[in-house]
Amino acid sequence: MADTATMQKAAQKSKRQSELTTRIVINVFVILLVVIWTIPTLGLFISSFRDPNAINTTGWWTAVFRPFTAGQWTLDNYRLVLTEDGMGNAFLNSLLVTIPATVIPITIAAFAAYALAWMNFPGRRLMFVLVVGLMVVPLQMSLLPLFRLYSNAQLNGTYLGIWLAHTGFGLPLATYLLFGYISTIPRDLIEASEVDGTTPMTKFIYLILPLSVPAIAAFTIFQFLWVWNDLLVALVFLGTNVDVALVTTRLSEMVGSRGQDWYVLTSGAFLTIIMPLIVFFGLQRYFVRGLMAGSVKG
């Protein structure tokens, strides 16, 4: 009897030990992965605050081990890249392009999604197939004909042109997502609001929109990041002229013209990614939802 009891205890103990080992192994492995995933960005971030001379002579990791060596930290990189390299202007341009290019497609999509979900009209089915079918069409298909159209309409290099281009490319997905959400609003809720004087427009503004906030927020974040991070559409329709360049086109130009000047490249790159990172860390829950929803964009 005593023997079996000790054996059981020993077995339990070894089981607990092996569980502990597994947990340690998993933790170490995940720590390793997280470090590998984070180090490239960390290197950029640290370098962007280092003196140009220090960047070029010693690796950024030396600054981590000896952070108090005099004269190696500076904010000049940011000052230079914001002014002389036009990154400040590009940042403003990016905001000017991104905000309307996010609001316009969501607005148009929300109206369309409401009609698709709650109104009956000839052509509804066709519109639906269009929205779903066009969702994965590569935007490369549109570039050349649109470029030609824009040349004729003198829209190349204008904000209006790029707002509408992003509106077009983002619209199928936006409509599809918002339809998915708006069509699940209970019918009772909508019928209960039908008192004297309500029109579809008032219903849409005062009932549907407030109820759809989660879906709208998710898509807003997705579209905002998409437009902010886009390079191709900006290259084609806005060009690389410093006056109109966005953070992405500006940075890609700098890689070409100043490929060795790491003090401006690192600070410039960090300026382009700071906005998405703020959105990411600030609104992570919606961000994940938006990305998951928007993962099929064409």
């Binding site: 960005t41 309307p100 369309a112 009209f121 298909m141 570039l143």
Partner: protein, 362 residues
């Protein structure tokens, strides 16, 4: 006619007049603001404010004004037109920005059409034949294939393994955040980050992380982006780094859906953790794996920014989307560029058909 009726009638007339007036005012504001935004002498800040107000307010004003106009019409006309007030803008945008250009690109791809050649001439398949015989383009196809296989394979595998592992640690959400973070970074930003990692100093100490490690281990610094064909792998790594977080987040919610009783039963039957991973978890989340893989495949198919910024397609690293950009906007080979775009479209067609079919089922 009673006073009440008369006053109602009067109010209606006033309303109609007002909504027509509002529509006219809106048109004038639009025309004025667009010419103002082109005015190069206006201060930049003012243009910015006008642009934001017109861009955001304009679209709302447009919908409300048109709805107002429709409301003034006789009841039957009004009820018929109303849905179209909501749907027409979306339809027009799709028509101008996707439907017309797609048809036009397919059309142009069959013609000999270059910058300055005027109208497209010589109908035929020559663009496609040229593409399929040009050695440079064949390299681009090979590279695209490499991207299409390696990025989804590694991103999904890493994503799944990490999703399963972080499920069992206490700091799960923190770990997930850091792995997911690259997803927020633009391809251009990521390219600069990795150019720095891959950088080779020609003199002095190596400041690029990878070469510093190589030198630290006693090797010679390597020009990672110039050694063919491995340079493709170093570009692909960037994309894997970007996409793993996405795969992880989506697979993680699927992994959490695996019933605990199923795992428990497998453990009681004596299955090891590795076996559970392959024979319980993977079959259970198979459909999610398929979705994530499709999404990443579609994304990778159109990969452009990374190659454009890192190498511009030099050293045999070109891909179809970058080639298309160069053919269309640099070389002015419109027909050939269009044919390349059509090839991308053909590649996504199965997904399009599946989506529409699912719609018919629902």
């Amino acid at each position: 006619m009673s006073d009440i009726e008369e006053s109602v009638l009067g109010r209606r007339t006033i309303q109609t007049a007002l909504s027509i007036l509002a529509a006219a005012a809106l048109i004038i504001i639009f025309v004025w603001s667009f010419s103002f935004m082109r005015n190069e002498e206006a201060p930049k800040a003012l243009i910015a404010v006008v642009a934001l107000v017109v861009g955001i307010g304009g679209i709302w004003a447009l919908f409300i004004t048109v709805d107002n106009l429709v409301s003034q019409m006789p009841v039957r006309v009004r009820d018929f037109l109303r849905p179209y007030v909501f749907i027409t803008p979306a339809f027009l945008v799709l028509l101008v920005y996707i439907i017309y250009p797609t048809i036009r690109t397919i059309y142009v791809s069959f013609f000999d059409y270059t910058r300055g050649s005027g109208a497209p001439v010589n109908f035929g398949l020559q663009n496609y034949l040229v593409i399929l015989s040009d050695p440079k383009l064949l390299v681009a196809f090979r590279n695209n294939l490499l991207w299409l296989i390696l990025v989804p394979a590694f991103a999904v595998s890493f994503g799944l393994v990490i999703a399963v592992l972080v499920d069992r640690i206490k700091w799960e959400s923190f770990a997930k955040s850091l792995i997911f973070m690259p997803m927020a970074i633009s391809f251009v930003g990521a390219s600069v980050i990795w150019r720095f990692v891959y950088y080779r100093s020609l003199w002095g100490s190596q400041i690029g992380l990878l070469n510093a490690i190589v030198v630290g281990l006693g090797g010679d610094p390597v020009g990672w982006l110039r050694i063919e064909p491995w340079n493709n792998i170093f570009l692909i790594i960037i994309m894997i780094w970007l996409q793993t977080g996405f795969a992880m987040v989506i697979l993680s919610s699927a992994v959490k859906g695996v019933p605990a009783s199923l795992l428990e039963a497998a453990r009681i039957d004596g299955a090891g953790e590795v076996r559970i991973f392959f024979q319980v978890i993977i079959p259970y989340v198979a459909s999610t794996i398929l979705t994530v893989t499709t999404t990443i495949v579609i994304l990778v198919l159109k990969v452009f920014d990374v190659v454009f910024v890192m190498t511009s397609g030099q050293f045999n690293t070109d891909v179809v989307a970058n080639m298309m950009y160069n053919q269309m906007f640099k070389a002015g080979q419109y027909g050939r560029g269009a044919a390349l775009a059509v090839i991308l479209l053909i590649a996504v067609t199965p997904v399009m058909i599946r989506n529409i079919r699912n719609l018919n089922k629902a």
